[in-house]
C-alpha cells in the first residue's frame, strides 16, 4: 500500500513545487482569487474526472463523458428555454437520461463482452450527435435560478470567490473518496480492476459493479453538464470537446494505474488542479502559446506512466531482470 501511495505523493510534490515556482515568478498567483478560479474553472472537469477515476480503477475507460457533458448542456437549455420547464426539473430529467445512458453502456460492455473503449466511443458519437441534432447553435439560458446561482458565492479573504459550482465539485470529490475507500462498492471496483476473474471467484458481483461504474461515470458527466451550463449560462453542442481526455490525464497524473486496481480519488483532484495551474501560468505569462498546456500535460502523463512502471514492477520478478540489465 505504501508503494502504491508513491505516485500520489509524487503528484502532490510536483504540484506544490510547480505552484511555488509559479508564485516566485508571478507573486499574484498566490491569492485566493487564483485558488478560487482553479476550483470554479475546473469544476466540470473535476466532477467528470471523479467518474473517470472509478471507470479506470475498474480497468475500463469512458470516452463518452465530454459528449455527455455537451449533450446535457443542450438538453438542459432546450428543456428550460423551449419547453419552459423549471431548471430543477430539467436537471432531474438530464440526470435520469445520463444515468440510463451509462447503464446501457455498462451492460453492453459486460454482456456483449465488447471492450469499453469501443462501447464508450459509440456513446461519444451518439451523445455528441444527439446534442447537435437538438440544437447546433448555442442557446443562452435566462432564468432567475441561473442568475441567483451565478451571483451567490462565498467571498474569500483576498477577493477570491468560492462559487456554487466549485462547492459542488468539492462535494463530489468528498463523496467520491468515501465511495471508493469506505464502501463495499468501492472495494468491488478495486477488485474488478485488479483481476476480473479472481474478483468473480471471490464473489464480486461483476455484472452489477460494471454497470454501476458506467452509470456513475455518466451520471457524474450529467452533473458536470449541469455545472457547465451554470458556468456559461448556455447550452452548446460543441461544449466540453475533449474533456474525456483531460479527465483521463487528470486521473493518470493523479496516480491511478491505467490498467486498474490501484489509485486514489484524491489524486485525481491534484491532477485536475495541476492542469488548472499550467493553464493559469500560461495566461499569466501571456507570451507562451496556449498549446504549451497540452505539451506540459503530455510530458507529465509520460512521466507518470514511467513512474508507475517503475513503482509497480518493483515487486514483480521482471523487476530483477530489469535491474541486472
Amino acid at each position: 500500500m505504501n508503494r502504491a501511495l508513491r505516485p500520489l505523493l509524487a503528484t502532490t510534490a510536483i504540484f506544490l513545487l510547480a505552484y511555488i515556482a509559479a508564485v516566485l515568478q508571478y507573486p499574484s498567483m498566490l491569492s485566493t482569487r487564483v485558488l478560487g478560479n482553479f476550483l470554479t474553472d475546473n469544476a466540470f472537469l473535476g466532477i467528470a474526472a471523479v467518474g473517470m477515476t472509478f471507470v479506470i480503477l475498474s480497468g475500463g475507460i469512458d470516452l463518452s463523458v465530454g459528449a455527455v457533458i455537451g449533450f446535457s448542456t443542450v438538453l438542459i437549455a432546450t428543456l428550460i428555454m423551449w419547453a419552459g420547464l423549471h431548471p430543477l426539473l430539467a436537471f432531474a430529467i438530464t440526470l435520469v437520461i445520463s444515468a440510463a445512458f451509462g447503464a446501457v453502456m455498462g451492460a453492453a460492455i459486460h454482456y456483449l463482452k465488447v471492450p469499453s473503449f469501443i462501447v464508450t466511443l459509440a456513446g461519444m458519437f451518439l451523445a455528441r450527435g444527439g446534442a447537435s441534432v437538438l440544437s447546433p447553435d448555442s442557446i443562452g439560458i435566462k432564468h432567475d435560478l441561473y442568475t441567483n446561482i451565478s451571483r451567490s458565492y462565498i467571498l474569500l479573504p483576498g477577493g477570491g470567490r468560492l462559487t456554487v459550482i466549485a462547492m459542488i465539485m468539492l462535494a463530489v470529490f468528498v463523496l467520491g473518496i468515501i465511495l471508493a475507500h469506505r464502501t463495499r462498492f468501492g472495494s468491488y471496483v478495486y477488485a474488478l480492476g485488479g483481476n476480473e476473474t479472481s474478483a468473480a471467484l471471490m464473489g464480486v458481483p461483476v455484472a452489477r459493479t460494471t454497470i454501476l461504474v458506467y452509470t456513475l461515470s455518466s451520471t457524474l458527466a450529467g452533473i458536470a453538464g449541469i455545472v457547465f451550463s451554470l458556468y456559461t449560462s448556455a447550452g452548446y453542442s460543441l461544449s466540453a470537446l475533449g474533456v474525456e481526455l483531460d479527465a483521463i490525464a487528470a486521473v493518470v497524473i493523479g496516480g491511478t494505474l491505467l490498467t486498474g486496481g490501484y489509485g486514489f480519488v484524491a489524486g485525481t483532484f491534484i491532477g485536475v488542479m495541476l492542469q488548472g495551474l499550467v493553464q493559469t501560468y500560461i495566461v499569466f505569462d501571456g507570451t507562451l502559446s496556449s498549446w504549451w498546456t497540452k505539451i506540459v500535460i503530455g510530458g507529465l502523463l509520460f512521466l507518470f506512466i514511467l513512474l508507475q512502471r517503475l513503482v509497480f514492477s518493483a515487486s514483480s520478478p521482471r523487476k530483477k531482470a530489469f535491474r541486472k540489465s
Binding site: R33, F44, Y236, T280
Partner: protein, 323 residues
Amino acid sequence: MSIIKKLALVAGIGALMSSTAYAEGLAGKVIGFSQIGSESGWRAAETSVTKAEAERLGVDLKFADAQQKQENQIKALRGFIAQGVDAILIAPVVSTGWEEVLTEAKDAEIPVVLLDRGIDAPEDLYLTSVASDQVKEGRVAGEWLVSTVGDRECKVVELQGTVGSSPAINRKQGFEEGIASASNISIIRSQTGDFTRSKGKEVMEGFLKAEGGGAGICAVYAHNDDMAVGAIQAIKDAGLKPGSDILVVSIDAVPDIFAAMVSGEANATVELTPNMAGPAFAALDAYLNAGTVPEKFIITESKLYTPADDPQGEYDRRKGLGY
C-alpha cells in the same frame, strides 16, 4: 444608416484625438487579449496585427489562444482578472454565456473591449465593441460598381458566402443597397460559393456556361476574396480576360486579391481590417487616461482598394501577417 455613419465619424475622431493627445498613453499598461483561435487566415492576421499594435504602443500584451473553446476563454478572462490587468480585449467564440465572468471583470473595475463579434449580454458589462459593418462593406462594393460602369448596361453575377451566415446575408443586402440607385445594373444570377476558392470557381464556371460563355456578364461580385480568386480562374479558363471583359469586385482585402490586381485580373476589394485592436487601444487610451467613455459600438473603416492603390505594396504589407 446615418447613425452608423455618425458612429464611424465619432470613432474616427476619437481615434484621431487619442492618437495625438495621448500618444504614449498605453505604454507599460498590461492588457489581456483572449483570442478565439487561428481558424482562418484573417483571424491569424488579426492576432499578428494586435501583437504588432501592442508592441508599437508599448503595451504589455498577455495573449491567450482559446483553441475555439469558450471554457478556455472564460479561464483566460479569470486569469487576467486575478492578475489585475489594466484592460481586457476579447474576440468571443460564441455570443452566449459571458455575463458571469464579465460581471466579475466589472466588479474588479477592468474595462473589457469586444473585438470583431458581439455578445448577448447587458451593454454595461463591456466598455465598447469594435467590429466591421458588413452591410457597409457590401454597399461600398456596390457603389464602386455604380461609379465604374456609369450609364452602361451591366449584368452582375453574385457569388454568395455560406448560406445563412451573417456576412453572406449582410454583404448581399449592402451590395443591393449600393446598386439600388442605378437602374442599368442588375444582378442576374446569385449562388453560394461557400466562401471557398474551389466552390467559387465551380459556381462561376456554371454562370459562364449559362450566360453563353460569359458574353452577357459585365461584372462578378464575390462576398469574399477567396471566391473571387476562384472566379478569376474560371473566367480565364473560359478564354475571357478577368478585370477587363468581366469586372471583379470582392470583399476582405487578403494578399492574393492584391496579387490578382497587380496582374490586372481584379478591379476592387473592400477591406475587412484585421486591425480591430487599433481602435480598441485608442478607446482604452482615452478611457484609462482621460476617463472618456467611448461609443458602445465602434465601426471600423470599410476601405475600398483598387489597382490605383499600390496593390504590390499592399500585397507586401499583408503577406507576412499570417493570412
